[in-house]
């Protein structure tokens, strides 16, 4: 029984991703190896579980189909071949008792069809000059990427939008983490009516983004808005929140943080209530100060969740576009890179350019995520 040893070994690996997951205490339970199975069929045997053969055959046939058949027929042919290969995998797994593979297969298939395949498609598209409203396509290699990074018209705009996005990411994630954390502390006790008050705080994230955006324009409106009315009453002046960049960013950050702090709160609270009570009792007997007991007992319990919340919210913050569209239309220096991509790919139909920019953005996100995982992991190993 090597369970904890296995986990320990893996957690000491160098791969940051695996370490992160190890840090999250993702334990895996190994089963004894399955009973002996029939040997795999030889490469050239036409058996239904000969997946190697199937892949080779499918590759060859696909290339022929794409070259020879009209687009629609080729699509179906390739689709059928992919299905065949998948079928051989399943049959193979079944015959050799790879239950893990069988269990995971539907999910992988679903993700492949609905997520990974479209992603690869648009990755391919990013190497072409293609505008979706004009049905011509030309291979241009890295042109779209180079343009996005060096063109003297596009590059500065992309760079400025990325900087604005960075401001949003930092502000809104910081605000969400802080507010979510404080709210979680508030609710990490058992008190009368807790159930009813907690749901009130959770409500904002259940609202539709459209309604939130539209209603925040109403709250911020200089004439009709509640915020302006209150401030006008207090200062006797004309208060226009969104009239400058700081105000506009602040307004959007406030709305976004208001909506998503409950998400952070939910995760942190889940961590807080799972700290065993007897640890706090031991700490109070040992006369540990509350500050110290927070860092030595509470924090280790919620650290994984805080990081997860940070990761989720950072990814989402990079995608921030809807509230910007609804509140400022990107005006007053609030244009984010995601909204920019949306405009390019959706409004202006520059599909391949949008795809290229998206992949550059994905690259930034992945680099940042891995950097963050690396740092998080280092910290967790030190502790």
């Amino acid at each position: 029984m090597c369970r904890s040893a296995c986990v320990g070994l893996r957690a000491k690996g160098n791969n940051a991703t695996a370490d992160f997951l190890g840090m999250l205490h993702m334990t895996t339970t190994a089963l004894p190896p399955p009973p002996t199975a029939p040997d795999a069929p030889a490469f050239l045997t036409p058996a239904l579980d000969n997946w190697r053969g199937a892949i080779a055959a499918a590759l060859v046939l696909s290339v022929i189909a794409i070259a020879a058949l009209p687009a629609a027929a080729a699509f179906w042919t390739v689709g059928a071949l992919v299905a065949l290969v998948a079928a051989t995998f399943v049959v193979n797994a079944f015959r050799r008792h790879y239950y893990g593979g069988l269990l995971v297969a539907p999910a992988i298939a679903m993700l492949f069809v609905m997520n990974i395949f479209p992603l690869l498609w648009s990755l391919g598209l990013s190497f072409f000059a293609y505008q979706s409203n004009r049905q011509t396509m030309k291979f241009v290699g890295l042109h779209n990427y180079i343009q996005a990074l060096t063109s003297d018209i596009k590059a500065p705009e992309n760079w400025a939008n990325l900087q604005t996005t960075a401001v949003f990411v930092v502000c809104t994630v910081a605000a969400q983490m802080l507010v979510g954390f404080l709210l979680a502390l508030l609710f990490a006790k058992q008190f009368p009516l807790r159930r009813y008050l907690l749901i009130l705080v959770l409500t904002p994230m259940m609202l539709s983004v459209v309604a939130v955006g539209v209603f925040y324009t109403y709250y911020y409106d200089p004439t009709f808005g509640l915020v302006s009315q209150v401030v006008n009453r207090m200062c006797g002046c004309q208060y226009v929140l969104m009239s400058n960049r700081a105000g506009a960013i602040g307004g959007i950050v406030f709305a976004d943080a208001w909506m998503w702090s409950p998400f952070v709160m939910l995760l942190v609270l889940a961590g807080l209530v799972s700290v065993p009570k007897y640890l706090y009792e031991a700490a109070s007997i040992d006369r540990v100060s509350s500050w110290r007991s927070f860092w030595t007992i509470t924090f280790p319990y919620i650290r994984g969740l805080l990081m997860l919340a940070l990761l989720f919210r950072t990814i989402e913050a990079f995608k921030l576009a809807d509230l910007v569209i609804l509140l400022t239309k990107g005006g007053n220096g609030t244009m984010t890179i995601s909204y920019h991509v949306l405009r390019i790919a959706q409004e202006q139909n520059k599909t391949s350019e949008g795809a290229a920019l998206s992949y550059l953005l994905l690259f930034v996100v992945i680099v940042l995520t891995n950097l963050y995982l690396y740092v998080a992991n280092r910290r967790s190993q030190e502790a």
Partner: protein
């Protein structure tokens, strides 16, 4: 001054009373075990002493000071939890050092203290490991180490040995006892294992349904149980208890009817104060019954039903009058066949009479 005194301590959770009017005092250097079946309120009582629960009524006095209102961290006590409550994110060494932060020792002093208790408890080799990486026995010792690393008013142990296997339990028992003897602090240990209580305690408080039934030395609770509950709870094999009608009693001799058959017993003279014809419960330890060859007025006539060799001795289950089950322990040499008639004589020193209310009748 390291003493604990409880006065009329009561704890109620809603309508359920977990501890009722408990009186107990533990003097410096004394080890008192709270012993009782599950749910008898012993852990609640310990948590009230620790300050983890607030008493509904009564007083907790530690070191001569009333502590009712003080939270746990201001009572200056040390406690070992049932599940050890080791801080999972800290190493063994950091765990042990945790209570020392309050005393603001220099790092050198602090590590010296940790080193010393680690030596005592043989933990030196695991100081850098995390609690998840050490064995149960080591965890137990870490928990004890964390308690003794400082100089508290008193020690509290909550079922300290319950998660260890039999062998480990045995060694830990003596280790803990050894450690405690050198400290001269008031110590309270909660346990449901009478062997643990009998071996470790200076005195034992036996609890049932929230009340303390008897407080006495290990010898006291065994030899002079205060009531039927204590008599039945302490001692293995369990004491034989049977109901009888008292006919007459005078000068340490009592005539009773047990299942229709008359029986003459040597008892405590105090039995004479009981009204004649009252119901009593007679308790005789299994080792206090001796088979004799002939029936006599002072013997009980029974038949052997089940024989369990226990090594040095043999436990025999016998069928007595009125279909009662009795247990007899005889020396190994004594051979008994199943179905054989046995005439049992009661050893007066191991015979107890309890009145109709279950209280022992003694001078």
């Amino acid at each position: 001054m390291s003493t604990i005194e409880l006065r009329k301590l009561t704890k109620a959770f809603g309508s359920f009373v977990a501890v009722r009017d408990a009186d107990l005092s533990v003097s410096a250097g004394e080890v008192v075990c709270l012993l009782g079946p599950s749910g008898c309120g012993k852990t609640t009582m310990l948590r009230m002493i620790a300050g983890l629960e607030r008493a509904t009524a009564g007083d907790v006095i530690i070191g001569g000071k009333r502590m009712n209102e003080l939270p746990a961290d201001q009572r200056n006590i040390a406690m070992v939890f049932q599940f050890y409550a080791l801080y999972p994110a800290l190493t063994v060494g950091q765990n042990i050092a945790m209570p020392l932060h309050y005393e603001k020792l220099s790092p050198a002093d602090s590590s010296a203290r940790v080193k010393r208790v680690a030596d005592i408890l043989h933990l030196t080799t695991v100081l850098d490991r995390l609690p998840g990486q050490i064995s149960e026995g080591e965890k137990q010792r870490v928990a004890v180490a964390r308690a003794i690393v400082r100089d508290p008013n008193c020690f509290l142990f909550d079922e300290p040995l319950s998660r260890l296997d039999v062998e480990l339990r045995h060694t830990m028992r003596s280790q803990i006892k050894e450690v405690l003897q050198g400290l001269s602090k008031a110590t309270v240990i909660v346990t449901h294992d009478q062997l643990e209580a009998l071996t470790m305690a200076d005195r034992i408080a036996i609890m049932r349904d929230g009340s303390i039934e008897q407080v006495s030395t290990p010898h006291g609770v065994f030899a002079r149980p205060a009531n039927v509950f204590v008599a039945s709870f302490i001692g293995t094999p369990q004491m034989n208890l049977f109901e009888a009608d008292l006919k007459a009693s005078a000068g340490g001799t009592a005539d009773v009817t047990f299942g229709g058959a008359p029986l003459r017993l040597q008892t405590d003279p105090a039995v004479g104060r009981l009204a004649p014809a009252s119901k009593v419960t007679i308790g005789v330890r299994p080792r206090g019954l001796t088979p004799v060859s002939l029936a006599a007025p002072d013997t009980i006539t029974t038949a052997a039903e089940l024989i369990e060799p226990m090594g040095a001795e043999t436990l025999i289950h016998v069928r007595g009058p009125n279909k009662s089950d009795l247990r007899v322990v005889v020396p190994r040499e004594k051979r008994v066949a199943i179905g054989e008639a046995l005439h049992l004589r009661c050893d007066p020193r191991q015979t107890h009479v309890f009145d109709a209310q279950g209280q022992a009748v003694r001078t």
